[in-house]
């Protein structure tokens, strides 16, 4: 964890001396840090402010910090998240040097290419359990990919639509979206979603799904590219405009983006309508109408307990998700952007959500479904897009894909088997 406003040296030495030490010499600490850097082959100017450094260099500052404090075991969590190929190679050179000089390095990653490149031993975790342990020479990428996703049996619960010749309702072209750290999170992505089609977006967490979804929700302005919905340009549309044009949005973090727990269920259900001027007459809220609509929706979606005036935060997770669904789906959207719809839900609630989505598809809605649950994606989608490092690593009709294809794409092995 780095502090952006401070220099490399200041970040690295943080905590190394007691706070009552009155003698901090900038020159000395910079020399110290430079020396340690030299020793481990990490050459960064210690006087530079971290905020001005590119992400990959910041990564190495973090490593330098560990080394400065004398760590002999380094644990790196997704260290190459924002790095390009050349930078990754440099990082690996440093890591190999470290391990050669007696350090132990543990890397947590989902990128098989990196595992194949650098790992002496590998452990595969799935759903919290160890499913495979292997030493170099006894594993290949295929094995690992399959171990990562397990045997996702594709239940044919939906009949995928044949390819229509209709144009895409949701049309994304060359979209570029910047992430919070200033890196490119979505890198020239192009795809389309037709009416009555579910396109599933697969990928390991952190490959640009969140940023893509936010760009399609009006929460994050794309840096380049275009977003066209129903023939109208919506690239820099705000959420209200999107709502008015028949777009419904369900995010993956309902307590932050979709719901206001302190407001009542009825208020939550009516929230986006009110924002667009609904439920108002002569300046006052039509609260009875809101309550009536809420009662109907709660009944239709089976939201328990069916009391519209309860604070939304008092509902269980499953019922909260139903609340969000009820609000967004009851608008009869033309386009639905939905992320992680069954996160934290029990089986019954998940099935309910799935049925609802399929029903919406029957009603000719264009659905873009983000999910980290591959089984869910395979069960619901007509087509699947795999995101890897902000690019589409693979896409295709779900009937033509195998689990292995998808897994390999998710893990960064380019090209289908």
């Amino acid at each position: 964890m780095l502090v952006p406003q401070f220099t490399v040296a200041e970040n690295v030495v943080l905590g190394s001396k007691p706070s009552w030490d009155m003698n901090l010499r900038r020159g000395d600490i910079e020399n110290d840090v430079r020396a340690v850097g030299e020793k481990f082959g990490i050459r960064i100017d210690p006087g530079q402010r971290v905020a001005t450094l590119p992400i990959d260099v910041q990564q190495r500052v973090e490593i330098l910090k560990l080394l400065y404090r004398g760590a002999t075991t380094l644990i790196l969590d997704e260290p190459t998240a924002a790095l390009g190929p050349a930078e990754i190679e440099q990082l690996f050179v440093s890591l190999r040097d470290l391990s050669a000089s007696g350090h132990s390095v543990v890397i947590i990653t989902h990128k098989l290419s990196e595992v194949m490149a650098i790992a002496d031993r590998v452990t595969v975790l799935r759903q919290g359990k160890v499913v495979k342990v292997a030493a170099r020479g006894s594993f290949n990428a295929e094995d690992l990919a399959v171990a990562m996703v397990g045997h996702a049996i594709r239940e044919v619960t939906s009949t995928p639509r044949g390819s229509d010749d209709e144009g895409a309702t949701l049309d994304v072209r060359e979209l570029v979206v910047t992430g919070d750290k200033g890196h490119v999170a979505v890198d020239r992505v192009s795809f389309g979603v037709r009416a009555g089609e579910i396109v599933g977006v697969a990928g390991v967490e952190g490959n640009g799904q969140v940023e893509l979804a936010q760009a399609l929700s009006g929460l994050r302005r794309p840096a380049a590219g275009s977003l066209v919905i129903g023939g109208r340009d919506m690239t820099s549309a705000d959420p209200r405009t999107l709502h008015r044009n028949g777009v419904s949005i369900i995010t993956e973090d309902r307590l932050r983006w979709d719901l206001i727990p302190d407001l009542t269920v009825a208020e939550n259900l009516a929230l986006s309508s009110v924002a667009s001027g609904g439920y108002a007459r002569a300046g006052l809220l039509r609260r009875r109408a809101m309550r009536g609509a809420a009662e109907r929706l709660m009944d239709e979606y089976g939201i328990q307990p069916p009391i519209p005036l309860l604070p939304a935060g008092s509902l269980s997770g499953g019922n909260q998700q139903k609340l969000v669904l009820a609000r967004e789906l009851s608008r009869n959207p033309r386009v639905l952007v939905v992320a992680q719809p069954t996160r934290g839900l029990d089986v019954a609630a998940s099935e309910f959500v799935h049925r609802r989505l399929l029903q919406l598809r029957e009603e000719n809605c264009a659905i873009l479904l983000f999910s980290l649950d591959l089984a869910e994606l395979l069960a619901l989608s007509d087509r699947i897009i795999v995101l890897y490092r902000g690019r589409i690593a693979h896409q295709g009709d779900v009937r033509d894909l195998t689990t292995t294809d998808v897994a390999r794409a998710m893990a960064g092995m380019s090209g289908a088997a």
Binding site: M1, L2, V3, P4, Q5, F6, E10, N11, L14, G15, K17, P18, S19, W20, D21, M22, N23, L24, R25, R26
Partner: protein
């Protein structure tokens, strides 16, 4: 401009700016560590009262000045507990503390300090060679000891913030306390220390108001100077050296409002305009200067990762 007027203006500006200057040092230290103390006005008031109290009961200016330490520490105890240990909303707590300090000091003043009181201030001391310089000599270089101390304190505070490990750590706590905690720093402890030091300096500002300017205490003697310190700190980007300039700006504006009547071109400008200038300048600066942002974690109570 007449040189006598200029001398008078500079001299009174240099005196008048000192309480704000001390308070700004203290507030800057606290804010760098992540604590936004709107209650700075109240702390100044308590410091002023403490000094007046000490002056009345001992007759000694030095002891009265030292009273700033217990005054500041008492305030730090109350506010620090609320801000750091209880994690209350700092803005609202600060406003309430100001009301409390106003009520308490006024009540104690009316009880203990009215009537026969010792009126005494630090006498201005001319500096050996420098006080012979025309205009500057009799004004800036003939000031009371706390005034000189305030100017000399600037590089000391600067050194504390920028060239000690303590200063580095507390500044990091103001930006990313979680980074500090994960590097092994004691967030609460460091914030307490920084805030306590800050409160003592602020209290000393109040004390110097009494001991250099007025000689005694009256109700609400600070009348907003603590808030000016808030403005100075943000205007001057938490840099003690710039803070001297910022406090000087306010001192000048304050001094000018008396003298401007006699300057013919400017006498038609109402006195109140000069009074308003510092506040308007602050508003403009805060609105315009994009980088006048508080340290990222300033004003946000910290919940230790272990507690969360």
């Amino acid at each position: 401009m007449d040189s006598a007027i200029l001398t008078a203006v500079l001299g009174s500006a240099a005196t008048v700016m000192i309480p704000v200057l001390w308070a700004s040092y203290g507030e800057a230290i606290g804010e760098e560590a992540g604590i936004l103390n709107i209650g700075v006005e109240g702390v100044m008031l308590v410091g002023a009262f403490g000094a007046a109290f000490g002056l009345q009961h001992t007759g000694s200016l030095s002891i009265a000045a030292l009273m700033a330490i217990p005054s500041g520490l008492i305030c730090a105890l109350v506010l620090g507990y609320l801000y750091i240990n209880r994690g209350t909303n700092q803005i609202v707590t600060g406003i309430l503390f100001n009301l409390l300090a106003l009520g308490a000091t006024t009540a104690l003043y009316e009880q203990y300090l009215t009537g026969a009181g010792l009126i005494n201030t630090f006498t201005p001391i001319p500096l050996p060679v420098l006080s012979n310089i025309p205009i500057l000599g009799p004004s800036i270089f003939t000031q009371a000891i706390p005034t000189y101390a305030a100017f000399l304190a600037a590089p000391v505070v600067y050194y504390l913030l920028r060239h000690t490990w303590f200063g580095l750590y507390l500044r990091i706590l103001g930006e990313r306390p979680d980074a500090g905690e994960s590097s092994g720093l004691n967030v609460q402890g460091l914030r307490w220390a920084a805030f306590a030091i800050g409160c003592v300096l602020v209290a000393f500002g109040g004390a110097s108001l009494v001991l250099v300017q007025t000689g005694g205490f009256v109700a609400d003697i600070t009348s907003g100077q603590g808030f000016i310190a808030l403005a100075v700190v943000i205007l001057c980007r938490w840099n003690p050296l710039w803070i001297v300039a910022g406090a000087a700006l306010f001192g000048l504006a304050d001094a000018l409002q008396f003298q401007m009547q006699t300057v013919s071109q400017l006498s038609s400008v109402p006195r109140d305009v000069w009074l308003a200038v510092p506040y308007v300048v602050t508003i403009v600066a805060v609105a315009v200067a994009r980088r006048s942002q508080y340290p990222a974690a300033c004003g946000v109570p910290y919940v230790s990762g272990a507690e969360a």
